[in-house]
């Protein structure tokens, strides 16, 4: 297995707070590696070190077998690019945004135009060249940011929570792009995420991170299969809960996740279990819904955040659930903070680990 980049005993601290603690990690050529961990676990710092815009305080980084130091930083930076979690675009046209890196690499105008066009098609923004990047929606801006990184065809592509705060349509487009680029261009991709669902679906390998350390590395099935204590720490992540499962008479199981919340799942499970419910699979209503769905809970809205065409809500039913509704539904239902609502989802929508 060829190694594209490697971190050896890398430590990094900001104002005496250690954010990466003696990290060792190999990134294999052509793989998608997900860094999975809660906020503050050191994922973003690790990506910045791999993008060569931050230097480790201790330890060393090698890129394609070459040790990276102050002499060759600018050279290796041309082969690795990072898409930030917070979408940042230059205050100019979409074309100028995407062509920026190509201009730095002195790519002739004809090829530049063609590459910009191709990368915009890939992120489904064909014809957006002349639009002002800052006037696009959040999801479109994130797609511009991805296109701007993809157009460079770097050996290493780093994505920091690429789909955080995006609506499902944009998430779908971006996930497809990530898979396509990896499959067709053989681009090595390292992505930070705290979305378990995404971590299970996209990458070839997962590195679990916690408090600046890598606690586990392996294939998704292997890591999720173990349901290690590290993975259980992710209970703080959206709609991921840990609890005790018990098989019930109907042949399904109920997972008691605490505070009186029992979630019915289709799998037959006993003992310690983690469950994840995709926010997209939850129905929100003001009155109980009569349906075939096995899970209905009453709660109240404790947080409202506005996404592009969607509204993300946190509903406390004893445990906090994240739910996504369209802006139209949000307005039609007349929802507000502290409003009493019901959440409903099918037992088959629950991912069990």
């Amino acid at each position: 297995m060829t190694v594209t980049a490697e971190l050896k005993d890398v430590t990094k601290a900001y104002d005496s707070k250690i954010v990466l603690d003696t990290v060792n990690l190999q990134i294999h050529k052509g793989e998608i590696l997900a860094l999975l961990g809660p906020n503050g676990s050191g994922k973003s710092t690790m990506l910045k070190i791999l993008a060569f815009i931050e230097n480790p305080a201790e330890g060393e980084v090698t890129f394609q077998g070459e040790k990276v130091n102050f002499k060759n930083t600018e050279k290796v930076r041309l082969e690795s690019t990072l898409v930030f979690q917070k979408t940042t675009v230059f205050g100019t046209s979409v074309y100028n945004n995407i062509a920026y890196g190509l201009k730095l690499r002195k790519v002739p105008k004809e090829i530049r135009d063609m590459e910009v066009k191709k990368s915009l098609e890939l992120v489904k923004l064909a014809g957006f060249e002349k639009r002002n990047a800052r006037k696009l929606s959040g999801g479109e801006q994130q797609r511009v940011a991805i296109a701007r990184a993809l157009v460079l065809k770097t050996k290493l592509l780093l994505l920091d929570e690429p789909t955080a705060n995006l609506d499902p349509k944009n998430v779908g487009i971006l996930e497809e792009v990530i898979e396509t680029v990896n499959r067709e261009n053989k681009t090595t991709i390292v992505m930070a995420t705290h979305n378990m669902f995404q971590a299970r679906k996209l990458p070839h390998r997962i590195a679990l991170m916690d408090e600046g350390k890598i606690t586990e590395v392996g294939a998704p099935a292997e890591v999720f299969g173990k349901l290690s204590k590290n993975l259980a720490r992710f209970a703080a992540v959206d709609n991921t809960f840990t609890g005790t499962a018990k098989v019930i008479a109907s042949g399904t199981s109920k997972v008691d996740v605490g505070n009186g919340v029992q979630i019915e799942v289709t799998a037959q499970k006993q003992g310690a279990t983690a469950v994840f419910i995709n926010p997209r699979d939850i129905i929100l209503s003001k009155v109980p819904v009569e349906s075939s769905a096995r899970n209905t809970f009453k709660g109240k809205i404790i947080q409202i955040s506005d996404l592009d065409s969607l509204v993300k809500l946190k509903v406390d039913v004893g445990k906090p659930f994240t739910v996504q509704v369209t802006k139209q539904s949000f307005n039609d239902l007349g929802l507000c903070l502290n409003a009493e609502v019901f959440i409903t989802f099918k037992a088959s929508s629950v991912q069990v680990f």
Binding site: K48, I53, E74, R77, T81, T88, F90, Y100, G101, L152
Partner: protein, 253 residues
């Protein structure tokens, strides 16, 4: 006592007849202030970039120092420059006192705090991620700094404009360093100093004419900048002096 109506009519006659003496003063003012601004931009913009982009001890003190200098009475600055440029002063050997060069340097020094202070806040208001973004796309440190500067370009243009307005309307420094010399090879009288002198010698017509022209010049220049900015011309121009030329060459190819 001035005959306001009569003097105003006389002023309009001077303007409309294209009086050479009046327009010579106007063009001299434009030349002095324009050169002063270019000079101040050459040292003020890199200074603003340095203060805004680098972290160093005493940064807040330096920023406060430049902010304070904006409010410094111009006669005080004029006095400092007069003493520096006078024969016995530390810069006396340059022979700048009562010369056009002295006025240009004086105005450039006067507007430097405006250029630096507004420039620093314009650069600091740019999203801090822009620098890292440019670097992740392959920019060297200096290329990334230019990317940040481009983002701050509207604020930088504003600081240039404010500096020009201040320079062309300046009296104290110009009077003390320039001396308001009319005639001969070293003429230093500009619009503001001429107005001051004309009032003292009861030449109200000429003073009013220069006053009207000063307002017209300021208005026209500000208007041109607004129109060019709206057309995005200045922004493009600032992105590289040869950008337009390069584009037209590429288009031909």
């Amino acid at each position: 006592m001035a005959d306001i109506l009569g003097d105003t009519i006389h002023a309009l006659q001077l303007i409309l007849s294209g009086d050479p003496a009046v327009f010579e003063i106007v063009s001299r003012s434009l030349f002095f202030s324009g050169t002063a601004i270019i000079l101040a931009i050459l040292w003020g913009t890199p200074l603003a970039m340095l203060i805004a982009m680098k972290e160093f001890r005493g940064k807040t003190v330096i920023k406060t120092f430049f902010n304070t200098l904006i409010g410094l009475p111009t006669v005080v600055l004029g006095l400092i420059l007069f003493l520096s440029f006078s024969r016995g002063g530390p810069l006396g050997f340059l022979g700048l006192l009562y010369t056009p060069g002295g006025i240009i340097i004086g105005q450039a020094v006067l507007v430097t705090p405006i250029l630096v202070s507004i420039g620093v806040s314009a650069i600091e208001s740019v999203d801090p991620e822009i620098m890292s973004l440019a670097q992740t796309l392959g920019a060297s440190e200096s290329q990334a700094q230019i990317a940040v500067l481009k983002e701050a370009i509207n604020g930088i243009i504003l600081s240039d404009l404010a500096s020009f307005n201040r320079a062309i309307g300046e009296l104290g420094v110009v009077l003390m360093v320039g001396g308001n010399i009319e005639g001969g090879g070293n003429q230093t009288s500009v619009m503001t100093t001429s107005i001051a002198r004309d009032v003292q010698i009861n030449e109200f017509g000429l003073a009013i004419a220069l006053g009207i022209l000063l307002v017209i010049v300021l208005f026209t220049i500000n208007m041109i900048v607004v129109i060019l900015k709206r057309a995005n011309y200045l922004v493009e121009l600032a992105k590289g002096p040869y950008a337009k030329l390069k584009r037209s060459r590429e288009a031909k190819r």
